[in-house]
């Protein structure tokens, strides 16, 4: 049975459902799994774990990828 839960994805609160995995979240957000890194409550997940790890109420998910940048910047582009 699936209950409505609240999670944080990239800093934003989001309605979600219990029992769903990281893979389910990526699919719903239309994010291809290659070249992204996922951090679940500060733990960096192995790509093979995406399909098994369920996201629980209150979990914090960070989905990271590569953007343009050379050297340091405080803004979006380095």
């Amino acid at each position: 049975m699936q209950n409505a839960i609240k999670i944080h994805v990239n800093g934003e609160e989001r309605d979600w459902r219990s029992g769903a995995t990281v893979s389910d979240l990526l699919t719903e957000l239309d994010i291809k799994t290659e070249r992204v890194a996922v951090e679940l409550n500060l733990e960096i997940l192995d790509r093979v774990a995406f399909g098994q790890r369920q996201i629980k109420d209150g979990d914090r998910v960070e989905i990271m990828s590569f953007i343009g940048g050379g050297s340091s910047s405080r803004g979006q582009h380095g």
């Binding site: 994805v9 992204v36 890194a37 990271m64 953007i67 940048g69």
Partner: protein, 257 residues
């Protein structure tokens, strides 16, 4: 110069010009500039995926990781913890074990926190990363970075994005003479002559972003940088004449009236 290869941690690099991918107008310009520069190493930053606007394209759709060595950086990290976290995320994102390590000490100058840099490098080397640290033009710090296992060192020429050129050629020269790993001059280049100068000093490569992306015509500057780095390298290998205060005639006296 066919056998003039740059090898770092067993990897061979064809180009001695490395480029960043920030500050371009769009991905098409980024791609064109990189092609014209001839660079085969491109740096990228690690950031949150935009989950609200999925129509946004991905940089790596334009920069093929099969064609280029993607060098993720820890740009924007001010603590050892953050730099290590971003490095691990970069590796988890599946490009490579390479990281251009930055641990910054100050927002205005973007100068590195060298104590933090050495500490972060130590942790990441132990985890199997190939750590290329962005550091000051300080020979002692450069040596410490080598001692903890960095296979190359990247001293700055001037503050990031400043375009001031080579501010302390003597320190850079000392680093190049003292340090027995490849030296990549990173940050501060403003124009082609700066890049040539860095290579003439004996740098193994030059990394730049703003000098190209911020030029009036980034594509033309990308090409200029390619030639500058090549010319500087050739001049370094050729060995320049010594500087002398007075003239030395280059035409013979014999046969004059």
């Amino acid at each position: 110069m066919a056998d003039d290869r740059l090898i770092i941690a067993g990897r061979e690099f064809k180009s001695r010009l490395w480029v960043g991918t920030g500050k371009y107008k769009d991905f098409v310009e980024t791609k064109k500039a990189i092609e014209l520069s001839g660079a085969d190493v491109v740096t990228v930053a690690v950031r949150r995926v935009n989950i609200t606007d999925r129509s946004k394209e991905n940089l790596l759709d334009y920069i093929d990781p099969k064609k280029y060595t993607i060098l993720p950086n820890t740009a924007g990290c001010y603590t050892v913890e953050d730099a290590v976290r971003y490095s691990r995320l970069a590796r988890a994102a599946g490009v490579s074990d390479l990281v251009k390590l930055e641990v910054l000490g100050d927002e205005r100058t973007l100068f590195p926190d060298t104590a933090g840099l050495i500490e972060a490098a130590k942790i990441l080397v132990k985890e199997g990363f190939i750590v290329l640290p962005y550091t000051n033009d300080d020979p002692i710090v450069a040596q410490k970075l080598v001692d903890v296992g960095c296979p190359a060192v990247m001293p700055l020429a001037a503050p990031i994005g400043s375009g001031l050129g080579i501010r302390n050629p003597y320190n850079l020269k000392i680093i190049m003479e003292m340090i027995k790993v490849p030296i990549i001059v990173d940050a501060g280049v403003g124009t082609a002559s700066d890049a040539a100068f860095a290579m003439e000093l004996g740098a193994d490569a030059v990394l730049m972003n703003t000098a190209i992306a911020g030029a009036q015509d980034p594509l033309a500057m990308a090409e200029a940088m390619k030639y500058a780095v090549h010319a500087g390298r050739l001049a370094y290998k050729a060995g320049r004449i010594p500087r002398k205060l007075y003239a030395t005639a280059s035409s013979p006296i014999e046969g004059m009236l």
